[in-house]
């Protein structure tokens, strides 16, 4: 694993933890998505109760050179409410499946949030001034009797306590029969896609009453269904290109210039199954739970139940790198099937980048991918040094600015000191959602109902 010290190795330290302390987790508080905005100044979380909480990073204080600014609550709002589809007798969960930020164009911030059926565009704006001195209204808003007005004055703006308001600007509804699993904003910043189990739709951010179906894998006879769409993402640079992953472990790259309906892929990324690993659960563990392009757009990363794979877009027949997240679980798949853990959908993310032109041509100095596991462990894989590390998000062993101690799981045999045996892992403590600051070494890691923020140690 990444050793302490030495060269460019990052040393991760605990910075903050957000959320309730008790062990009794209210279901509505379960975090379901985490996302930094494009500058990294804002960090949004969505939860099962349909709420969005946005944290803002403090401006860096010259006197506090030993740490970057802390994240504090900036805005909280109810994004989605539970709904009931009367026609189908189905309840629609309010859980926020994904949040995606739009790049900032003016003073306000915009994000897309989605539940299973409806996507909403939210505007988050600050108000730090208010008009005072109306002629016809009192300060508290009551209207004055016009006959009592004897003089006229011009209202002026006066400073007030900062208020952050969130208002829904667009609601994109009624376009998905199945459960939405992904949204992705195009690099043109005008359109975005939303994907459910069987279809992908293309939207324009300004238009809510129309969307274009660009992928449809629903078979004519549902009894012939063999796979579903599990994730989709636009290419970071090519506005005509997107990928979608499937429950069968394949990724399809589509070019919207080729046809209106991208049912035929331009590229199909698939690794042949290893027959020696065949089991009852082979189909489940090969299902891809997340797909993310690298910042350059040259690579993409996929997460399945046991591993993270890096694919070169120029090579379809196998990934260029495969990292085992928790291979020790392979012999436990039966139990994980029984307790439903095998269906957990882990996400993955790339480290941030400068996104300068040069990095497109040169391999990044530092390329790390991160993903979560059980027992509140999360894993990082350094693609350059080929080293990996397991860390834990826990209130207990974390003191601010103390370097996190690497963890090790003992798969079998004699357990060394400080190692944890597979059977002692807590499968209720899972890290499904992680995010990496777009520019700095700051990461946000979500446990069931807490959000941990870690930074690298600054000297």
């Amino acid at each position: 694993f990444l050793g302490a010290g030495g060269g460019n190795d990052i040393q991760w330290c605990f910075s903050q933890v957000k959320g309730a302390v008790d062990d009794d987790v209210a279901e509505a508080d379960i975090i379901s998505t985490v996302e930094f905005n494009h500058s990294g100044e804002l960090l949004a979380t969505g939860d099962k109760g349909g709420r969005v909480v946005i944290f803002q990073q403090e401006q860096e204080n010259k006197s506090q050179s030993h740490s970057r600014g802390e994240y504090n609550v900036y805005s909280t709002f109810q994004s989605h409410e539970p709904e009931f589809d009367y026609l189908k007798s189905l309840e629609i969960e309010e859980k926020i499946n994904k949040i995606r930020w739009l790049p900032q164009k003016n003073a306000a911030q915009f994000l897309l949030s989605t539940n299973d059926k409806t996507i909403k565009l939210w505007k988050i704006s600050e108000r730090d001034k208010r008009p005072e001195g109306y002629n016809l209204k009192e300060e508290d808003g009551r209207y004055r009797d016009p006959t009592t007005v004897t003089t006229l004055r011009v209202p002026v703006f006066r400073p007030m306590d900062l208020m952050v308001e969130a208002s829904p600007r667009r609601i994109f509804a009624n376009a998905h029969t199945y459960h939405i699993n992904s949204i992705s904003i195009n690099s043109d910043y005008e359109t975005y896609l939303s994907a459910d189990d069987l279809r992908i739709n293309l939207w324009h951010l300004e238009i809510t009453d129309r969307s274009f179906n660009i992928v449809d894998i629903k078979p004519a006879n549902m009894e012939e269904l063999t796979e579903v769409i599990t994730a989709a993402e636009f290419h970071p640079n090519s506005c005509n290109t997107f990928v979608y992953s499937s429950s069968k472990g394949t990724i399809r790259l589509c070019d919207m210039r080729a046809s209106a309906l991208c049912d035929r892929h331009s590229k199909l990324f698939e690794e042949p199954e290893d027959p020696s690993n065949r089991s009852f659960f082979s189909e489940i563990i090969s299902s891809i739970s997340d797909v993310k392009f690298s910042h350059s757009g040259r690579y993409m990363m996929t997460r399945d139940y046991l591993s993270v794979k890096i694919w070169d877009l120029n090579m379809e027949n196998r990934p260029v790198e495969t990292y085992q997240v928790h291979e020790y679980l392979r012999s436990k798949l039966c139990s994980l099937y029984e307790n439903d853990c095998i269906f957990d959908k882990f996400e993955c993310c790339w480290n941030g980048s400068d996104r300068q032109l040069l990095t497109f041509f040169l391999p990044p100095l530092c390329s790390i991918v991160m993903t979560g596991s059980y027992n509140n462990f999360f894993r990082m894989f350094d693609r350059n040094t080929k080293r990996d590390i397991t860390l834990e998000a826990s209130r207990e062993n974390n003191k601010p600015r103390t370097v996190l101690k690497p963890r090790k799981v003992c798969a079998s045999g004699k357990r060394k000191k400080d190692e944890i045996s597979v059977d002692s892992l807590d499968f209720n403590k899972k890290i499904l959602h992680t995010a990496w600051h777009p520019k700095e070494n700051i990461i946000a890691v979500a446990t069931t109902n807490n959000l941990y923020i870690f930074q690298d140690k600054m000297n």
């Binding site: 089991s279 994980l336 029984e338 269906f343």
Partner: protein, 325 residues
């Protein structure tokens, strides 16, 4: 990879998951149900291939073809075991897949009974998930009519009437359906009948009434089949928290306790293996079999259902049928 559960338990757990997903908030999750159907398919392939292997072995052992493997839904009374009955083998090594049975053979030409032991049929217990040969057994078509038990892909349905939770009784009638040749073979009182091919037997080809009922609205309790009420209550809550799927539920992973629980479960529910057979036959009638409440509560013998041509035609897609909604 070794699995701590046998194919039957996996089938049972999987069905419970599908069942409980109907009452979960947010509606049926297509992705999860599809994945569960894959496990069902894999377990079913293994289960059926095991039964085929067992039957083939018996066929070899009794080339006259007279006794037919039957699975009554109850353990036989101890007195029925003849003195020369081989000692009940305890399931031992998982690698030893030599089929064994607690069968009592009552002489040539008579019914070979394989009582459902307190533990599930030994040859099915603790079967490794991975077949020794690459890939799973493919259930392939083979012998034609008259082969009795020689064909691949057999469905067993005990001819017992399944009273709703009443004490099961041994039946002298067993029906076997060959999935590939569509031959229905009934054994009564030790005599072998060769029924006509299903398509020529109009009286058999009517689907059991109640099969075509519409899917239930979520939030209503479903009963698949009689005798399983106890386990249904574990997994089903009306409109409430989704079952964690399976007996184990949410608590932290602890393989030892789960395994013990399943062995206990098998002990308490000796009917399960035959009920699993019934389940497979229920699935043979496609999605409608899954949702039919009336069918589950009725005491109709399953023969008519098995004979259904529609059931046979959709058999290949039965796993997909679960997902369709």
């Amino acid at each position: 990879m070794e699995c701590t559960l046998d194919a039957q338990s996996l089938i049972s757990i999987s069905l419970r998951k599908i069942h409980s997903s109907r009452t979960q908030r947010g509606g049926i999750k297509l992705h999860k149900n599809l994945l569960v159907s894959y496990v069902l398919r894999n377990a079913r392939q293994l289960y059926l291939s095991e039964r085929y292997a067992e039957l083939y072995r018996r066929q070899q052992h009794y080339p006259d073809g007279a006794p037919l493997l039957a699975m009554p839904a109850c353990p036989p009374p101890a007195a029925a075991a003849p003195p020369d009955l081989p000692a009940l083998p305890l399931p031992t090594d998982t690698q030893d897949r030599e089929p064994r049975s607690c069968a009592g053979v009552r002489g040539g030409g008579e019914l070979l009974e394989v009582p459902v032991c307190a533990a599930a049929p030994p040859e099915l217990q603790r079967v490794p998930c991975r077949d020794s040969s690459p890939g799973f057994y493919r259930v392939t078509g083979s012998a034609g009519p008259g082969s009795g038990g020689g064909a691949a892909g057999l469905l067993y349905a005990a001819g017992c009437d399944f009273g709703s939770g009443g004490a099961p009784h041994c039946s002298s009638r067993t029906t076997v359906l060959d999935l590939d040749t569509h031959v229905v073979t009934t054994v009564e009182n030790g005599y072998l009948h060769q029924d006509c091919c299903c398509s020529q037997c109009p009286c058999c080809c009517q689907p059991a009434p109640g099969l075509a009922s519409p899917p239930p609205t979520p939030g209503t309790k479903r009963k698949y089949y009689p005798g399983q009420e106890e386990e249904e209550e574990e997994g089903v809550e009306e409109g409430g928290e989704p079952g964690a799927g399976g007996v184990a539920g949410g608590p932290p992973f602890a393989p030892c306790t789960k395994r013990a629980r399943f062995e206990e479960y098998n002990t308490e529910h000796p009917q399960d293996s035959s009920n699993i057979s019934n389940l497979i036959s229920i699935f043979g009638s496609g999605f409608t079999g899954l949702v039919s409440r009336q069918q589950a509560d009725s005491e109709q013998p399953l023969n008519g259902q098995l004979c259904s041509k529609q059931a046979l035609a959709s058999l290949g897609a039965w796993t997909r049928a679960i997902v369709a909604f």
